[in-house]
């Protein structure tokens, strides 16, 4: 049948494309086992000529890497949890409830979706410092606990859920908040997975904000530490950089692997398509 033959070709093409797409990723991992000299060689090598664990030992011995790892995790988990909770709350209100100011609230959320981050950066820093949150983990977390995008996503998804559930809940005499928490929230799995992955990814990789807010190394996150140790004023330690980048990407990769099906389902059903 023609279908099988075309599939065979497709696999070949896809495999070639796949190799091209993941090549930089693979090169990053392989590069983390190379020496600085080899990384600067021309033409560049693919497999490490003399594989070394040096970069990793330096990463974990010299630097307080486990501390940064813990900080990154706390921040990313808190930010993700906050977004999941608060954005679904507003999203539900916007999608299902009728209240004065709803339209305005929604327009404001949509408007801020378009504002470039660079606009608010400096005023935000001055603000965070003035309320005494500089150099603290809350200072890293609070400004990111909600996002317009999260609200939009949750609202779109919940709009697509059957309204009958709301009326049924009311008939049963459940309070409005209970209807949200017990009936609708459990149905939001795919959307929460989508929002969760995107938020975690963003928080995990966030660089500039933790850099200026965390003033002591004990508050640094992974990307800040990575930039710190791998780049000098006039030189870059590529091996260390690649080893660090590999360590940073692994948790994200694992989370994506674990949730990818729900992630896609979430996008499929949020109505953002």
């Amino acid at each position: 049948m023609t279908r099988t033959r075309s599939q065979w070709w497709l696999y070949a093409v896809l495999t070639i494309v796949l190799l091209a797409v993941i090549a930089p990723f693979v090169w990053m991992v392989l590069g983390s086992f190379k020496t600085q000299g080899e990384l600067l060689q021309t033409p560049p090598t693919w497999w490490p000529q003399t594989a070394t664990l040096d970069n990793y030992t330096r990463l974990f011995s010299r630097l307080n890497f486990s501390q940064y790892f813990v900080n990154s995790t706390i921040v990313a988990v808190a930010v993700t949890a906050g977004n999941l909770l608060f954005c679904s709350m507003v999203g539900y209100a916007l999608a299902m409830l009728d209240f004065p100011g709803r339209r305005t609230l929604f327009l404001v959320v949509m408007g801020t979706l378009l504002i470039p981050g660079v606009v608010t950066f400096v005023p935000l820093f001055v603000l965070v410092t003035n309320v005494g949150l500089a150099n603290s983990l809350p200072g890293l977390i609070l400004p990111f606990l909600v996002s317009p995008f999260g609200v939009f996503l949750m609202r779109q998804y919940i709009s697509g859920l059957p309204r009958d559930l709301l009326d049924a809940g009311r008939v049963d005499g459940a309070s409005e908040l209970r209807i949200f928490a017990r009936i609708f929230l459990p149905l939001c799995g795919p959307a929460l997975a989508t929002l969760g992955i995107l938020t975690f990814l963003g928080s995990w990789n966030n660089f500039l904000w933790p850099l200026v807010v965390a003033q002591e190394e004990s508050k640094y996150t992974l990307p800040v530490a990575l930039a710190l140790y791998s780049k000098g004023q006039n030189s870059t330690q590529y091996g260390l950089l690649l080893a660090g980048a590999t360590v940073v990407v692994i948790p994200v990769l694992a989370i994506f692997l674990a949730f990818q099906r729900r992630f896609i389902e979430g996008i499929a059903t949020t109505g953002i398509k």
Partner: protein, 327 residues
């Protein structure tokens, strides 16, 4: 703007046949005792919205207002400790931005990047999604993960690798071009080729996101329609053109809007790869704005960021207008 919200839920998504509410804009059916119910609803709604509103007002609305204020003043970095002891200069910062040849150049560069980059990224994303959705049956998860890795790979690693890929003499891309007899350009060193190089890299980095969304959208395309068309003798391309594409229109627009918003603010690629060069051929609006912040010209930089905001808003509005006309 509100047109999005009305259009999107109407696209069937294949989540069974459960009837879907028409979204937030329909009012609940009025029932007896509506007044009390409405009050109760309003109270519940604002309770639910309260944490968001508080955080939003403090950490988003306030800085936005302050920077808007800054854009009409001559604020420099030294003024930030006394933010109101500055002179109001009206629209000076905006006229200054528009008369700056490098800012104008950065607008052209950004337009170039968006006009070429968005379609290319979308085409790659769509091709990958179609291939994975209907073309193959095995190893889908593997390919999906593989195509998504560029999205989650750190930009620093991406930059290092792509610099090697785009190298003139021994870079992978020029080596491959050499096999078919093409003498590859000096990508990042040539003002005419640096931008195409960055567009290629950005498309590679971002098509995974679009692919995932297209994969989701494709679940809404009923397989039966394809089967029927195939029996009628329609080829694969015809089926794609006349069945898949029209049904994907809402998804296409969503991807094009989000990609365009991202690309209009593109920053990281030139920041790590070319620093805006050679000859300012890759400097983007966001990057130039960031530079002005770095120089301490906060008033000017704020004005520039609001110019970007207005452009993003206009482009988004145009895209939604197109959507409304076509559906």
């Amino acid at each position: 703007m509100s047109s999005t919200t009305e259009v999107t839920p109407s696209g069937a998504t294949g989540r069974g046949s459960s009837p879907r509410g028409k979204g937030g804009d329909t009012r609940p059916a009025s029932n007896p005792g509506a007044g009390a119910s409405r009050r109760r609803q309003g109270l519940a709604a604002w309770t639910l919205a309260l944490p968001f509103c508080l955080l939003f007002l403090v950490f988003t609305a306030w800085p936005v207002i302050q920077s808007l204020f800054m854009s009409f003043t001559d604020t420099r970095s030294r003024d930030l400790r006394t933010p109101f002891a500055v002179d109001i200069v009206g629209l000076d910062n905006f006229t200054k931005a528009f008369s700056d040849p490098i800012f104008r150049k950065s607008m052209l560069n950004t337009a170039y990047f968006v006009v070429v980059g968005v379609p290319l990224t979308m085409a790659m994303a769509l091709a990958a999604a179609v291939a994975l959705d209907k073309g193959i049956t095995k190893l889908r998860g593997l390919f999906r993960l593989g195509f998504y890795t560029p999205v989650i790979t750190s930009i620093v690693a991406v930059a290092v690798v792509w610099r090697f890929l785009l190298e003139r003499d021994y870079g992978l891309i020029n080596t491959v071009l050499g096999w078919v007899g093409i003498d590859g350009p000096n990508w990042l060193g040539d003002p005419n080729w640096a931008m195409p190089g960055l567009i290629l890299m950005a498309s590679w980095r971002n098509f995974g996101t679009g692919m995932i969304i297209f994969l989701a959208g494709l679940q809404a395309v009923p397989w039966m329609l394809h089967e029927a068309a195939a029996i009628d003798g329609a080829g694969a391309w015809q089926r794609f053109r006349h069945i898949t594409l029209p049904l994907l229109r809402p998804t296409l627009l969503f991807v094009s809007v989000t990609t365009a918003i991202g690309y209009l603010q593109f920053f990281e690629e030139p920041f790590v790869m070319t620093n805006g060069g050679p000859l300012n051929s890759t400097i983007s609006m966001s990057m130039y704005t960031y530079k002005q912040f770095g120089f301490g010209n906060y008033g000017l930089a704020s004005a520039m960021s609001y110019i970007i905001f207005v452009i993003v808003a206009i482009v988004t509005a145009i895209q939604f207008r197109l959507l409304r006309e076509n559906t």
